[in-house]
């Protein structure tokens, strides 16, 4: 039994703390969020120079080949600072999908570029009939000679507007199960027929509608076997989900700390408001949601890194906890902060909007609990 971080992990944590507190004060987060693309290429470059995009990419493809727990230590700090950019989608989700399903040539072509941050990848899974299961993949790809032709619409695709390549999950045949007949295609964002449009809304990540109109993709850009992409997609999604859960735990931790600190400094009726049991109860909710998110996520990562059984059920539990917990921690923090909390300059809403968004991203609590039930033979 050992709940301590390794020395390497402590180093990663300290360097991330130092970097992010210098580079990402809350007003910077809002500036970047409010900018046209929501993407700061210089910041991205610095993050990649620290090696953050390379951590879980195998050594032979230019990565560090480290465990997901190492990656998560960084992401906990990113969550604490309310900014991740395309790191999760490119360096975890896309990279894992390529590492799992890609051919040697594809791995060599894509992974080093991702690891160095020279190329940004994203995965396009969800569609207008929104949902995270294989049954929600309806978009069709049809074979024409040595090309595939993609037609259809993907919604809520993170960072597609600045991505170099989009891994499109599409249906190439109808199988006996929804999982059958799904194929993954690596598509250049600048290919003719690809168009992206940023979604407008109260969204804590940059999501896009991506349209595909007779987009021709060479057959060699298929990742893995035609019709059998779902298993690697699910594996890659699981890994990204575990890392995202820690990101969310970091955000919940900050939402907790903000309300804890505010409750000791804000004076009402002559005393710190933390004197009032009602205020205390909200602080305690935020604390417990943050702790629950953190420990379920790290346990899931340990299962992943050490090859335990029940890895998938642990990851789904972690995401279910983080999906509910990050939002609840923010709600509780808003209760304590009252009026000041909804002031956009104050900083708390940087977390709330991400809690709302990531509650959904890669599957919400309902999706993951249903998955747990299935995995537990319920």
């Amino acid at each position: 039994m050992d709940l301590a971080l390794t020395e390497t992990q402590v180093m990663l944590q300290n360097s991330a703390k130092e970097f992010l507190s210098a580079e990402l004060p809350k007003h910077r987060v809002r500036e970047i969020d409010d900018s046209e693309t929501g993407f700061d290429r210089e910041l991205w470059r610095k993050m990649c120079d620290l090696g953050w995009a390379s951590i879980v990419i195998p050594e032979q493809y230019g990565g560090l080949g480290s465990g997901f727990t190492d990656m998560a230590v960084i992401f906990e700090q990113l969550g604490y600072n309310a900014y991740g950019g395309p790191l999760l989608d490119s360096a975890v989700l896309s990279a894992q999908l390529i590492a799992e399903a890609g051919s040697e040539a594809q791995k060599k072509a894509f992974l080093p570029a991702i690891a160095e941050g020279q190329q940004i990848f994203t995965v396009a899974l969800t569609e207008p009939e929104y949902g995270w299961g294989a049954d929600r993949v309806k978009m069709k790809a049809t074979r024409q000679g040595d090309h595939w032709v993609l037609n259809g619409t993907k919604l809520f695709i993170p960072w597609a507007h600045i991505a170099d390549r989009i891994i499109v999950i599409a249906r190439t045949s109808e199988g006996r199960t929804p999982e059958d007949g799904i194929t993954a295609f690596v598509v250049d964002r600048t290919s003719p027929g690809v168009s992206t449009r940023l979604h407008y809304g109260w969204i804590g990540d940059k999501l896009n509608e991506v349209n595909f109109s007779n987009v021709r993709v060479p057959a060699e850009n298929v990742l893995g076997a035609v019709g059998h992409a779902w298993a690697p997609v699910e594996h890659a999604r699981d890994r990204a989900t575990a890392v995202l859960s820690v990101y969310m735990a970091g955000g919940a931790q900050k939402a907790y700390e903000m309300c804890r600190d505010y409750s000791t400094t804000r004076i009402a009726f002559g005393v710190p408001i933390g004197t009032f049991q009602r205020v205390q109860d909200f602080v305690i909710v935020a604390l417990t949601e943050a702790d629950a998110s953190k420990w379920t996520a790290y346990e899931a990562l340990w299962r992943l890194d050490s090859g335990q059984k029940d890895t998938a059920v642990g990851i789904s539990m972690a995401k279910a906890v983080a999906s509910d917990g990050f939002s609840k921690a923010c709600d509780a923090s808003h209760h304590v902060h009252a009026g000041i909390g909804v002031d956009l300059d104050f900083g708390l809403t940087n977390y709330t909007v991400r809690a709302r968004t990531f509650q959904q991203y890669l599957g919400d609590s309902i999706f993951h609990k249903a998955r747990m039930a299935k995995l537990m033979n319920l």
Binding site: E129, G201, W202, V279, S327, H334, G339, G341, L344, Q360
Partner: protein, 426 residues
């Protein structure tokens, strides 16, 4: 028992009259206005013009005497006006919160002040913003942002606070100002109706999650003539209490919860593999829980209005309703996300936004609607206080008490160094 309102034939005829008048006079841009956040100057001018038309009919203060700009109608007629405006999505034009100030003026203003303010308010010639204070909630005087000092006959206001009101700029600001931060909390608080054209007033642009009706106003050495003081110098709390305990705003609820019905409609019409989302058993339960909460809030409001209409004393009921309403809003916000997924977050500008993005607005509104002053769930304090959970001996019903009213609901006013009012009650 009877849970619906019955109208007389005369009132039904009046409804037709109001409807016909509205069809004729309600300007197109006002009719089309979806979110107040989209209010531009032209539309705001149209709104104000229409408010003046309403005011000329006396319909902004229908039950007030004609001499003060009202229409001298019955409460049932007033209800008809509210219903018809609300059905057209413009009930907010009635400025109902401002009417609390008008009522307080009617009861506590000087003759000169009544003459000066009541007719222009009733006629829609004055847009009023008021200090953000929740009814039934204990106010911490030290938390007040505006301070007042005396300079000759005039008053000088300084500081910053949050105000609620419509439009881009008000005509008047109703505010409390603290005269002496060193004095006991109840002391020396004055109420002003400040003309918004005075020098030194600045509406600051701090952005909030939902900024449409809450404004941050900065007072920089604003010189206010004595005529803008309401009541006596030390009657600030008393005037505020008079407003907060005013029950004329406790009326029967009108519309159903529009956000909830939008969500239900979306769940009916949106399918996954041909099956409406509303038939997914878990989401269905969530939706029905939201429906139940919304309906209970509605029933509580009916109960409250019926009690007021029948002269029954209210004790915990208003605070209970407000508390439940906030809890229901947060629950609905979660239900919207769980039912709609990421669609819940799309704004009106996004072509994929369901229900014109109203539910995305609800995501933010459900947070801003929580208690705006520090100390969460302040309504719970009010309920506990009125139930006297900390006082074994007393169980009599009374008006919502705060430290500044006694058990009969009468205001307690104490001035530093002098005694006035019922000193024993403190």
């Amino acid at each position: 028992m009877d849970f619906v309102h019955h109208y007389t034939e005369e009132q039904q005829r009046f409804r037709q009259e109001v409807a016909a008048w509205l069809d004729l006079h309600l300007p197109e841009p006002v009719r089309r206005l979806g979110e107040l956040a989209e209010l531009d100057r032209a539309t705001w001018v149209a709104c104000k013009a229409f408010q003046r038309l309403l005011g000329e009919k006396g319909w902004l203060s229908p039950t007030d005497p004609v001499e003060w700009g009202g229409a001298g109608l019955t409460p049932d007629h007033a209800l008809v006006i509210r219903e018809e405006l609300s059905h057209r999505g413009v009930g907010w034009l009635l400025q109902e919160k401002a009417s609390l100030v008008r009522d307080a003026l009617l009861r506590q203003g000087t003759e000169e002040q009544k003459q000066r303010y009541l007719p222009i308010m009733a006629r829609g010639q004055a847009t009023l913003w008021h200090l953000l204070i929740e009814p039934g909630v204990q106010v911490d005087p030290e938390g007040l942002g505006v301070r007042v000092s005396r300079d000759g006959d005039d008053y000088i206001l300084d500081g910053e606070d949050r105000f609620v009101g419509q439009g881009l700029w008000p005509d008047y600001l109703w505010t409390l100002a603290l005269a002496d931060p060193e004095a006991l909390p109840e002391h020396a608080t004055a109420t002003f109706l400040v003309p918004a054209g005075l020098e030194g007033l600045r509406i600051s642009t701090s952005q909030e999650l939902v900024s449409e009706e809450v404004h941050r106003v900065v007072f920089e050495h604003v010189r206010v003539p004595p005529v803008n003081l309401l009541g006596e110098e030390v009657e600030g709390w008393s005037f505020m209490q008079s407003m907060l305990t005013n029950l004329s705003g406790v009326e029967y609820p009108l519309e159903d919860n529009k956000d909830l019905s939008d969500l239900l409609e979306w769940a009916r019409t949106t399918t996954r593999d041909g099956v409406p989302i509303g038939q997914e058993p878990f989401l269905q339960q969530l939706l029905m829980e939201a429906q139940v909460k919304s309906h209970v809030v509605r029933l509580f409001r009916i109960r409250n209005a019926w009690m007021v209409a029948n002269g029954q004393p209210l004790t915990y009921e208003l605070a209970q309703t407000a508390l439940l309403e906030k809890q229901a809003a947060l629950h609905l916000s979660l239900a919207v996300r769980e039912v709609m997924g990421l669609y819940a977050l799309l704004a009106p500008r996004d072509p994929r936004a369901p229900a014109n993005g109203r539910l995305q607005r609800h995501q933010r509104l459900s947070l801003t609607q929580q208690n705006p002053s520090p100390g969460p769930e302040a309504q719970a304090d009010a309920i506990a206080s009125v139930l006297r959970l900390h006082e074994p001996s007393l169980q009599a019903p009374f008006m919502i008490p705060t430290p500044w009213t006694d058990a009969t609901g009468a205001p307690r006013v104490v001035i530093a160094g002098a005694s006035q009012g019922d000193d024993d009650a403190i």
